[in-house]
Amino acid sequence: MNFNHIVIQNILRDKATYISYFLSSVFSIVIFFLFSTIAIHPMLAKLDPTSTLGVTMVLASFFIYIFSFVFIIYSLFAFLKKKSKTLGTFMMMGASMKQIRKMVFRENMIIAGVAILTAIVCGLIIAPLFLMAAKKILRAEIFGMYIPIQAILITFVLFSLLFLIVTKLMTRMIKKEEIAQLLKADITQEKLIKPAPFKLIASIIVSVFLLFSMIKEMNWVESFGIISYVALFIILLLAIYFTVTQGLLLAVRVWQKQPSYFRKTNMLFVSNLKAKERSHAHIIYLLTILLLGVFVCTSVLYSSYYNVEEKTESLYPYSFQYTSYPGNELQAQKDIAFIEETLDKTGHYEAYYSSFKSDDKRRIGFMSVTNFNQLGQHTPITLIDNEYFVAAGHEGVLPNKESIHDYPLGNLEYTGMEKSNILTSGLQNVYYIVPDKVYETIGYPDYKIFAYELDDWTNKVHVAQTISTKITIEPDIRLIASKIELYEAEKFVKSIMFFIGFMLSLIFMSAAMSILYFYIQTSLEQEREKFSGIRKVGFSIKELTSIVTKELATLIFIPFAVATLILFATLLGMHNHISLAFYQLTAIGLSLFLLLFIISFFFIRRGYLNKLLN
């Protein structure tokens, strides 16, 4: 029996300890591998190396790599904690720290090697399915199956490096004193949470202040730029941390003073919370953060995916909008004839002809009432002689009501406003709608607008392509804008985001579950002993079950509740920027997650109880 034999037997005979570490490693690697098969797809390189898709994929892979790094460090840490007693025994038998480090290092490298190989094999099996899904979701026909040699190599090298670094680092952190302490006393008092009301209040006030100033778009936020967002992120993490730890501390203290503390199983449940309040609070905090990640990734990204049609329409109101600059009349006639000829073949459509005059320098447009009413996407208006009406030129920007007074148009009075832009967003800053008579007196150049709205426009990409290949944009001569094309492009970007978001949330979710699993596993032995003890004192299985149920529910549903609360608070704070559909979708998404959680709760509970009572 040599050293390596002990290392291997350690792993083989204590599978429960190693399996969750192994599985979570495999999972992170598989996800990374799949992402890199797409990110460095040969067809992608052929098409456009700097395309949004390619860049996003590489970024996502990078993010996943970083996350894997943190996650694997955490798993290793939990794993070492669980093993420290065994390590202590080895130490007592005379193994030096160097030998123990060597043992842990070798064990980990074996696991890492097997995990990487397993992950690559799994990845290769899943890859065709994954590519097919990517093809479908991303609507990118290019993702055929290929043999991802490059991805295999990258995954192998990067994760070997990662494990090597992490393991080296972690083995240095094994401390002799701590292990010896653990061996001396099985049960040690955990450090208690210190009451920190000031920190809690300060962190909450600062984060509320930062959030508020961001929502109100205060000046200083802009001047600090990205720093203020990073600051908000950090302070929010701190605020959540203090809320969770102090909240738990307070809850336990209040509960212990209640008369019901001595009723039924409350005492055992609460005292257990108190004894482990620090580690419980940390787990609840970690799960809360991961869940927030999951929620943000799925619901927010999916909701933006859902809103694409609406958003596109608000940017480009028309299926086609042909803008003809002054002096382009002859060409315009030919173009319009071509457009209408093409559209005639595809089905029913509405055509709107209009025009406006523009002060090019300030990009202020003037439009007659008649021309305004000829456009079909907004409610018609009537003006009397000395009135004017304002219409937006930019999506999401309120137009200036007063600039019209800089022009010698007589004494006109403001009557109302159309807040959504009436033509392609950004063409003009603002449109002033004036009575026809006043319009005739304006001497600025005249721009012609030919707008078309197709029935069932989302399904007419081919029409948009036909037209845009024939009629291209020529600055200062003609412009053509199509919401159909914009919609296609937006949808593509959004679906990539959704795809990545979905993957990330999968990772967050599995990280949350594996953290929970580790945590429960670590205390299993102690809990089992305790439970068999109190069973002899006269607790029935029913009562023990109720304690376990309460404890697991605390660990699983409090993070869920906190994360949900934060998500909805954020959404409510942003209610000006988001639509009702967003709330609905978020609610649906959350209910799905809740269902998932309830199901996994019962699974975990059953497994845990079985292990505890046998």
């Binding site: 055992l268 005292s271 482990k276 305790k530 006269g538 029935s540 029913k542 009562e543």
Partner: protein, 253 residues
């Protein structure tokens, strides 16, 4: 016999695994009210199995156990738990205290399950801790007190609901000789003051000599029993002799 508190009849216990092992091969035993009995025997003789069967932790394979005219094995899990915490008290070698609870909470643990008013809980707690002399320990955690103190706390928990039968499994196994003396004196006075019947497993002749009767189990059957006369010293000697005969006990040099 109305004053019999425990009636064990042809008790058998088999452990079935790859090899079926008979731990108890048919034991008849009666324990009277207020009686203090010690169970002795060499390692592996079945004495702990015997106690576990009585304490409803192990289900016997055959035979019957009647405690206070109840058959605990006819009860379901809920009723059994209630039976344990009202009729029986337990003291273990490893104390079996819940480390997340304070000493006070550990003692109150059996009472929390039955709807007893806080006032009554306080009263019983005070009475018990006064008797055991552990009042100053109440607010401490279990890992802050010594072994002897732990066993006192465990005894307090076992007697706070005034059980009719106190079962002890090697209660002095983890204690130093000074603590052994005080814990055993405590058992004696509980037996006298509260009229609690005690059944105790031990392998220590000195500990057994505190009992009124000692029974010896060997190879799963009841081998012998001796009663205490007036003289404790003589009783101890008799126990030693029996043990020597059984092949355990005092070492010969």
């Amino acid at each position: 016999m109305t004053d019999t508190i425990l009636n064990v009849n042809q008790l058998q216990k088999e452990y079935s695994g790859e090899i079926t092992y008979k731990a108890l091969k048919g034991i008849d035993f009666k324990l009277k009210e207020k009686e203090f009995v010690a169970v002795m025997g060499p390692s592996g003789s079945g004495k702990t199995t015997f106690l576990n069967c009585i304490s409803t932790i192990d289900r016997p394979s055959n035979g019957s156990i009647i405690i206070n005219s109840h058959d605990p094995y006819n009860l379901n899990d809920d009723e059994l738990a209630k039976f344990r915490r009202t009729e029986l008290g337990f003291v273990f070698q490893d104390f079996n205290l819940v480390h997340t609870l304070t000493v006070e909470e550990n003692i109150l643990l059996p009472l929390t399950l039955d709807s007893i008013s806080e006032k009554e809980m306080k009263r019983r707690l005070e009475e018990t801790v006064d008797f055991l002399g552990i009042k100053e320990l109440l607010k401490k955690r279990t890992f802050e007190i010594s072994g002897g103190q732990k066993q006192r706390v465990a005894i307090a928990r076992a007697v706070i609901h005034k059980p009719t039968l106190l079962l002890a499994d090697e209660p002095t196994g983890n204690l130093d000789s000074k603590s052994v003396n005080s814990v055993m004196t405590l058992f004696e006075s509980i037996n006298k003051t509260f009229n609690t019947a005690i059944l105790m497993v031990t392998h220590d002749a000195y500990v057994a000599s505190f009992a009124q009767r000692v029974i010896f189990i060997q190879d799963g059957i009841l081998y012998n029993e001796i009663h205490r006369g007036k003289n404790k010293q003589q009783f101890y000697q008799e126990i030693m002799d029996t043990l020597t005969f059984l092949g355990g006990g005092q070492h010969e040099f």
